[in-house]
Amino acid sequence: MPPDQPTGYLIVSAVLFTIGVVGVLVRRNPLIMFMSIELMLNAVNLSFMTFAHYLDSVDGWIFVFLVLTVAAAEVVVGLAIIVSIFRARRNIDIDELDSMKG
């Protein structure tokens, strides 16, 4: 079913990764920055799955599974950090959180 070269899938992956990078750099709400990081991780997942199909190897699937697991753990801890920052300061604008600035 898919074409004989993976170019289309990899271009979708590259575009999604770039959108995620721009989102992390531009947005100041830490929740949306976190969602952009998840977008980047999913773009890389699509890339792994494409190569698993085109190189006919199950290792790509295993990497996607491990990336999924690590992303789940990271989301749990990251959201706990954001919630505790919010509890301490009632303000989650990233540019305002500069008390450690040198």
Binding site: R28, N29, M49, V77, D93
Partner: protein, 179 residues
């Protein structure tokens, strides 16, 4: 590639790109989270196009079913206070520069992809060929054989990772006790 597969791929590609843009462009964080759900679901359909049933279902169950629900909990808890962000940027040319550099990055990656091909010699040997395993056993068993025959140690380490993450979230979520 027949026309229905081409149509499916183009439709999914457009959906994934537009919902990805929706994640970073919406002012309201809840709309961003819903856009991300649509994006993750279209990626699961991409996995289906690539003949991976098990991982498509796992993506829907875990990413959209658990991780995004957790995101939505936190977003709706913090949503009213979060509306006041994004009013003004300290660096005014930041958004234009980011968009321009993003186009350069995506263009550079696409150029590399357009000017390269995968040679048939790079495919895995027929002993552990994935398409053969899927045809013979199904995708769940193919995935299981790969995980437990070659990647057993990383699998066990992820269990430790998850325990550490749970303990970390519990410690961070506790309110400070009054002494």
């Amino acid at each position: 590639m027949n026309t229905s597969a081409t149509f499916a791929f183009v439709a999914l590609g457009v959906t994934a790109t537009l919902s990805g843009l929706g994640v970073i462009l919406f002012r309201n964080a809840v709309y961003s989270a819903l856009s991300l759900i649509l994006n993750l679901f279209s990626l699961a359909l991409f996995f289906l196009l690539l003949n991976a049933l098990f991982l498509a279902v796992v993506q829907v169950l875990i990413y959209t079913g658990a991780i995004m629900v957790l995101f939505l909990f936190v977003v709706t808890m913090l949503a009213p206070e979060a509306q006041e962000t994004e009013q003004r940027d300290p660096i005014r040319w930041q958004k234009g520069a980011a968009a321009g550099l993003g186009v350069i990055l995506a263009g550079g990656l696409s150029y590399i992809l357009f000017s390269s091909v995968i040679s048939p010699a790079a495919r895995a040997s027929t002993a552990n060929s994935l398409s053969k395993m899927i045809d013979q056993f199904g995708s769940i068993q193919a995935f299981g054989m790969g995980l437990f025959h070659g990647f057993l140690f990383p699998f066990e380490v992820t269990s430790i990772l998850l325990v550490v993450a749970i303990i970390g979230a519990l410690v961070l979520g506790r309110r400070a006790s009054k002494d």
